[in-house]
């Protein structure tokens, strides 16, 4: 028994050993050059023949030998490389051999010329597949518009003769194919002379069997050099566009068209839009499609200051009529607006040169009818004004822009900008006002005023800036200089008419009536020359010192002619007419140090600035100057900023800034403006600039792991010499205001936000809260009034996004403002504004979508019984259609309950007010969109996920 077992065991053992030798094999060989000398340290790789996966590798020893032991029995592709030699490769099949000896592998030297030129000079990827040499045209620079022939001239190993004949490694190329296909028969020059070089993705040279042998199927051993050109998949050019048209009830219409055509260097686009649905002008998306690569530019602001190293995107001013195109202003919810706009844009874009020019026109006609109620508090008394007014405004602008950016070399950059706006408009304003004594609109009628103003203006503005930046060889040392020239020229004519009745003894018959009938022609010209310098110097690895200098000379030239219109014609009103010139010189020099290391960025600096005003006033142009303002203001403005990138996606930031703003020229004019006899303005030539101290501190945190986010912060502002409008109210309730400086106004704000997913990817919750406190000072009848606002705001948001077919978004917001007036402590106001909103999106079968949006707003001030509620429901259903979902048809209902109005209320200075404006309410609309890029719909809200 034992013997049998032993035998069995032996047998098994033998079998096992046999199996092992069968499964594994050894491979050896050695590498030599053509002369037979060994090539030590050459790389030998074993790849799978199927897809070249690397299985094993070795290096040859000093005598050029290599050996792989115990290789799995399979076919391999052996690949040997040695610098300066053509890679060798061969497929091997071990069959049942135990050891394969490849013997001496003879490596052929790579054509030295080819190697040197390709590898060293051009640093070009060159691939060799068998006898095919493949070139990547990207690595061989040819001028724009060059033909394939020009490209081939530059490829090493290829030659182009005078007559266009191509030679590869000395042999004439007999055939040129494009994507493997013959191009115009046997004429090898047709393709190479006619195709643009930039359309080619690959150039391949190989030996092809002769026509003869291909037809007969018998390889006669003769080969012809063939050149194959592979075309780029998407030779980068294209266009996209979108058109929408909608028609609705209540004569509502809207339409928008845009088209953009581009290739790798040029972009051209046009846009046109029109609507009477309060949609406003361009959205941000429209703006980006219009301006393309020139939508956002860093470092176009030439006014260097603290943080001069930080380049940011600037968007002109915030003012209503800036020089540049304003986008993303959103819908207009006041009145009835008709908008038209259109423009064209061209960009030329290369790494070295960027050029942009655009033209844009827009016009808006606005019908605005409003009623408002305002109670003003005086020392132990009050008066209330009711105002019913209407405005018919028309406004149009032509804007042109040019931008040129040139990277002169890697260290020098020049930017030149020029923006222009030509605008004009008309306005027709009429108002009926009633003034009552006391804080109710019933007690005692005091004044009644009917006003009508018709105005008409033209303006021209031009802004030019040139910025030159130089980087020194030493990293971080930078220099920049900018110059700017701005012009603003405007003329306006206003006809002011009003009838003002004053009631003292009777409520029905006026004791006195004051009629105003004036025309006012104003012509103003402003020229400004500016310049700035910036120098940055790094030191001690973690510090940078930055210094800057700003200069500005602004000159104003204003001629204001006021005429009283009587029965006998016009007479010049010498009290209101003025001619004045003003020169404002601004100089600032500052320096600061920034520390930045591992996420901690701290900067401190100090600047000194001087503003000099030199104004002269005369009754009329050509008359002697009667008044002169010659004032100098000198200020130190410190600046501190902190940015701390803490661990775990936490950021801390803060700063302290001092800002100085010079007084408005209108407030400085020593004139009495009684064009509104119930509200008289008096200028004050003794005004000083306002100094604003501001401090902010904030923290934010986002956890990408569990998607929670949090931020909170606070800011504080303190005003010194704030320009406020002191009021003197006489017994006829005529208010006379005068700009005055006062110190002590301040504001404080505290805010926080926390958001987290309730169910990850399905439901999110967000809560925010803020508190603000403001103190505003005003002199009312020579008594200081201190208005204190305490505002409390809180909101929730809950998103429910369970699937691709259904989503719900809800929100709630409460805002309470308590206002106290020191001159009238009994008149504390509590304003409560509330908003609740819900949005539902459903995706139905057959690419039909349904969207409903509900919002409920309420505006309450109990003291005046003001309680307005506004439920708004918008519904729309839409369907994508056409090939590649390029079309969409949509039916929408706006404000289904017909409740929309523009409502606002506020409590400020010494007043509390409520206003209601008539605006676009219920209408239905059917619209169609065609989008070349496809209409994509989702039940998810847009705007997140970047």
């Amino acid at each position: 028994m034992k013997k049998t077992l032993l035998l069995l065991f032996l047998c098994l053992n033998v079998l096992f050993v046999k199996a092992q030798t069968a499964a594994r094999f050894n491979l050896k060989g050695s590498t030599v050059d053509t002369a037979g000398a060994p090539l030590p340290e050459s790389t030998v790789m074993l790849l799978t023949p199927k897809d070249s996966t690397l299985v094993n590798f070795a290096r040859t020893s000093k005598d050029g030998t290599f050996e792989f032991k115990n290789l799995k029995r399979a076919s391999y592709l052996i690949k040997v490389t040695y610098v300066g030699y053509l890679p060798y490769q061969k497929e091997i099949n071990p069959k049942d051999a135990e050891t394969i000896d490849l013997g001496k592998i003879s490596m052929a030297a790579m054509d030295q010329n080819l190697y040197e030129v390709v590898i060293k000079t051009f640093r070009a990827p060159l691939s060799i597949k068998g006898d095919t040499i493949e070139y990547d045209p990207k690595a061989f620079k040819v001028p724009p518009g060059a033909s394939v022939e020009d490209l081939i001239r530059r490829l090493p190993g290829l030659q182009v003769d005078q007559d266009g004949t191509i030679k590869a490694q000395g042999e004439t190329v007999k055939r040129v194919t494009v994507d493997g296909k013959r191009f115009f028969g046997d004429d090898t020059k047709a393709a190479t002379k006619n195709l643009p070089a930039e359309a080619i993705s690959k150039v391949q040279v190989f030996n092809e069997k002769t026509e003869q042998s291909r037809i007969t199927g018998v390889d006669d051993g003769k080969h012809e050099k063939t050149l194959n050109l592979e075309l780029k998949d998407s030779h980068k050019k294209g266009g996209f566009g979108k058109a929408t048209a909608g028609i609705g009830t209540e004569k509502r219409l809207e339409g928008k068209v845009n088209y953009n055509r581009f290739n790798d260097k040029n972009q051209f686009s046009i846009i046109g839009l029109g609507n009477n649905t309060n949609q406003g002008g361009m959205s941000w998306d429209d703006y980006q499609d219009f301006k393309g690569s020139q939508s956002f530019n860093w470092g176009d602001d030439g006014d260097f200051g603290f943080g001069g190293g930080m380049r940011y995107i600037s968007f002109g001013g915030d003012e209503e009529e800036s020089l540049t195109i304003q986008a993303g202003r959103g819908a207009q919810n006041r009145g009835f607006n008709k908008n038209w706009a259109g423009g064209a844009n061209y960009n030329f874009d290369t790494k070295k040169t960027k050029f942009n020019t655009s033209y844009y026109y827009n016009q808006t006609s606005q019908d605005l009818d409003a009623t408002s109620r305002q109670t003003n508090f005086l020392t132990n008394s009050a008066f209330t004004k009711l105002d019913t007014n209407g405005r018919r405004n028309f406004n149009e602008n032509h804007r042109g822009s040019l931008r040129f950016e040139k990277n002169l070399d890697s260290l020098n950059t020049l930017i030149v900008l020029s923006n222009m706006r030509i605008g004009n408009g008309t306005s027709n304003y009429f108002s009926h006002q009633e003034y009552f004594r006391g804080d109710q609109d019933t007690t005692q009628l005091s004044n009644m005023s009917d006003q009508r103003n018709i105005s008409d203006f033209n303006s021209f503005a031009l802004g030019n800036t040139a910025i030159f930046r130089h980087k020194f060889k030493k990293k971080g040392r930078n220099f920049a200089v900018s110059v700017a020239y701005n012009v603003n020229n405007s003329t306006g004519k206003v006809i002011q008419r009003s009838t003002n009745q004053f009631f003292r003894t009777s409520q029905t018959v006026a004791d006195s009536v004051l009629r105003i009938n004036q025309t006012n022609d104003t012509r103003s010209l402003r020229n400004q020359v500016k310049g700035s310098l910036l120098f940055m110097e790094p030191f001690a690895k973690k510090f940078v010192m930055e210094s800057f200098y700003n200069f500005s000379l602004k000159s104003d030239d204003v001629d204001r002619d006021v005429f009283d219109v009587g029965e006998g014609g016009q007479t010049r009103n010498v009290n209101l007419s003025r001619y004045y010139t003003n020169k404002s010189t601004y100089n600032r020099v500052g320096t600061g140090v920034r520390y930045s290391h591992n996420g901690l960025n701290i900067a401190t600096g100090l600047a000194v600035q001087q503003i000099q005003l030199d104004g002269k006033f005369a009754i009329d142009q050509g008359q002697p100057f009667t008044n002169r303002i010659d004032r100098k203001f000198f200020n130190f403005t410190p600046n501190i900023s902190l940015n701390f990138d803490l661990k775990q996606n936490r950021y801390l930031y803060g700063g302290y800034q001092v800002g100085v703003s010079e007084p408005n020229i209108r407030d400085l004019q020593p004139i009495v403006d009684n064009s509104n006899p119930l509200y008289i303005r008096v200028g004050n030539p003794n005004l000083s600039p306002t100094t604003n101290h501001s401090i902010n501190l904030g923290y934010n945190h986002f956890n990408p792991g569990n998607f929670t986010q949090m931020f909170f912060g606070a800011y504080y502002n303190y005003y010194k010499d704030q320009v406020i409008y002191s009021q003197i109210v006489d017994e006829n309730l005529v208010t006379t205001t005068m700009a005055t400086n006062i110190s002590g106004g301040k504001s404080f704000n505290l805010y926080g936000n926390y958001g987290f997913p309730i169910v990850k990817t399905k439901s999110n919750f967000n809560v925010n809260a803020s508190y603000n406190r403001g103190t505003n000072l005003t002199n009312i009848n020579n008594e200081l009034n201190r208005t204190t606002n305490n505002g409390y705001n809180m909101g929730f948001r809950l998103d429910y996004t369970p699937s691709d077919k259904f989503t719900i978004y809800t929100n709630a917001n409460w805002n309470i403002t308590d206002t106290k007036y020191s001159i009238m402590s009994g008149q504390n106001q509590k304003i409560i504004n509330t908003n609740y909103g819900a949005e539902m999106n459903v995706r139905l079968p057959k690419d039909i979508y349904f969207n409903s949006r509900f919002s409920y707003n309420s505006y309450v001030n109990d003291r005046y019984g003001f309680d307005q509620k506004m439920p708004i429901l918008n519904l729309s259903v839409y369907k994508t259609m056409l090939k590649s979902k390029k079309g969409e048809i949509r039916l929408s209902a706006f404000d289904l309950f017909n409740k929309n109005r523009g409502i606002s209320q506020s409590a400020y200075q010494n007043f509390v007010s409520q206003e209601q404006v008539r605006t676009l309410a219920r209408y239905f609309m059917l619209s169609f969109t065609y989008n070349m890029r496809g209409v994509a719909h989702s039940v998810r809200r847009k705007g997140f996920g970047y």
């Binding site: 790389t43 690949k79 971080g476 790094p538 591992n598 996420g599 960025n601 990408p704 970047y946």
Partner: protein, 246 residues
């Protein structure tokens, strides 16, 4: 006495020095963040093309540097501090890849979603396909090899120098017959190229830090965490690629 001590130290250090012969390689890394948006499947064709037309031409890439220390037995890769150029400087995220080719182990320290992780596992060579393409990088003739990262959805193209017989490379990439001098992810979304290759007789600093804070993970656990994070972010319509090391 001092001299004797010095000699004694030198003698002790000598065998160590011989082993430490190797390379110090600096890699320049450029991340073209604009190209990433093409991967976000929740953005519409219109949104993607808008991003490309308005930002694409201006994307000069986010630049940073890394350093690889390598000997025949070990390699270590770390990020380098950003140079001061007068602008804002972000915090350097913690990152280290250490490999021991003799023991066949790796230790990676990586910051993800605000937390530190230490990935300790055996070295598993990625599956490389060696292609017939050559080019020159810094005077070294390199061959092309391709691979795929299925977790992050990346097509990896590596260029390795047969002249530098180290099976190492920058960041997570290694396992070729020569040192990897360039890595290209998804046709140029991210490019890492060796800008300086120094041959040194003794590589300094090639050891594991004594203290490594962070949660310990295996490669499989790390991959699973990444997969889940990427898929959750895409479902929540957030770009996951801001928060991970691409």
């Amino acid at each position: 006495m001092k001299k004797i001590l010095a000699i004694a130290f030198a003698l002790i250090a000598l065998p160590g020095l011989a082993q430490k012969e190797g390379l110090v390689v600096t890699y320049d890394k450029t991340f073209y963040w604009i190209k990433i948006f093409d991967k976000l499947n929740y953005l519409s064709v219109e949104e993607k093309s808008r991003i490309q037309t308005s930002w694409g031409a201006n994307d000069e890439g986010d630049k940073s540097k890394g350093k690889l220390l390598v000997t025949a037995d070990q390699s270590k890769f770390v990020d380098m501090e950003q140079e001061a150029d007068g602008g804002y400087r972000g915090r350097k995220s913690e990152y280290m890849v250490f490999r021991d080719f003799v023991k066949g182990t790796k230790t990676e320290v990586e910051e993800f979603a605000g937390k530190m992780y230490v990935i300790e596992d055996s070295l598993v060579v990625p599956s490389w396909k060696v292609m017939n393409k050559i080019k020159d990088i810094g005077g070294y003739l390199c061959m092309m090899a391709v691979s795929e990262d299925t977790v992050k959805g990346q097509k990896i193209t590596a260029w390795f120098a047969n002249d530098l017989p180290y099976s190492a490379g920058p960041e997570r990439y290694f396992g070729l017959p020569g040192l990897i001098l360039e890595v290209d992810i998804n046709n140029g979304e991210l490019v890492m190229t060796a800008s300086k290759v120094e041959k040194v007789a003794a590589v300094e600093g090639l050891e594991l830090p004594k203290k490594m804070k962070g949660k310990k993970l295996t490669t499989a656990e790390y991959d699973q965490m990444m997969r889940k994070f990427i898929s959750d972010s895409i479902k929540s319509r957030r770009n996951p690629y801001w928060s991970i090391r691409y």
